[in-house]
Symmetry: C2
């Protein structure tokens, strides 16, 4: 039996990140960074059509990135949000990204969360979430199951003191999802072969 | 920025597992194994009061174990279920534990899932979940927030073809949670210091 496991980002990530400034003060810039990250994950065939990044909320300093790695890592919880949040936490040595003495952190993601990631965001300590496409867009365009979500996803966050902005630059986010489908991207819902 | 992260089980795990037979055919044996695992995680102060294991459903062969590692690993998604499922998937090289040619897998856990783990179970491919204490027990006894759960947790699973058994040996599961609280175990909800 394994005693530890490793979760790894694609090889192209460092060169991709290097092309951007260390701080992205504008929210539009942050989202376009995440959408470019998602597109690159699709083009490189290094995971599903989802990307996320953790920023320092006020300064826009990039803390971590995450992309969907379910199939390459063979781990079903390796969604972009879980990757970005876990990498930020490991880097800062803090399971609570909202605890003193840390500054407030923000998660920017190309699409509203699935049921698992909604919970993961609640436990992460981020104070702010920004998404582009909605969960309904994801289900409609890609066919990915979003899971047992509460009726109002955003209020599940805001009631826990996490502010939410979205749909933000939704048209661009929707285009990225459509690109994945048009490219013949695999929809990897669990147990499709047993449906 | 980090390029990969590692998630590690406590050092006592191999010796603990070695004391048990490789197969636990009886469901009561499987749950008592998981409750003992959880107790050991509390006593060893190697994480929160949650334990889980993945078994081959029919044979009872132990595939992987997981315990809550949020604080030691500084990763808020390192819940027992996510650990056990991820370790099983890495070991078998399959993000979908329900896909051919694999046999069916079962997740046994000391308590009903939080919102994140409910989603994680949906995506994991396990065909069967068995829990001891309920999410309400967890919230009532420990004060841990269980997150934005649907009204009927079990039907969210069963509607996806995942069968659910629980509360099972609930009294023993409740005792384990009480033990954690009595021992002064830390309740690490995100941003307690900002509440």
């Amino acid at each position: 039996m394994l005693h530890s496991i490793q979760l790894t980002l694609p090889d192209w990530i460092p060169a991709f990140v290097e092309k951007y400034p260390a701080h992205l003060p504008d929210l539009g810039e942050r989202m376009r960074f995440v959408l470019a990250l998602t597109r690159k994950n699709i083009e490189s065939q290094t995971g599903g059509p989802f990307g996320a990044a953790v920023f320092e909320r006020a300064s826009g300093k990039l803390v971590s990135v995450g992309v969907n790695r379910v199939m390459p890592e063979q781990v079903s919880s390796a969604h972009a949000e879980v990757m970005a949040l876990s990498f930020a936490q490991k880097q800062l040595g803090a399971y609570d990204l909202g605890s003193a003495p840390l500054v407030e952190h923000q998660l920017v993601v190309n699409a509203q969360m699935c049921a698992m990631c909604l919970g993961a965001v609640c436990w992460s300590g981020v104070r702010d979430v920004v998404y582009s496409a909605t969960s309904r867009d994801v289900e409609k365009i890609t066919g990915f199951d979003e899971g047992p979500l509460p009726e109002n996803i955003d209020s599940a966050l805001s009631s826990r003191g996490i502010s939410v902005t979205g749909p933000f630059l939704a048209e661009e986010g929707i285009q990225v999802l459509q690109k994945y489908v048009e490219a013949g991207g695999f929809i990897y819902n669990a147990r499709l072969d047993r449906a």
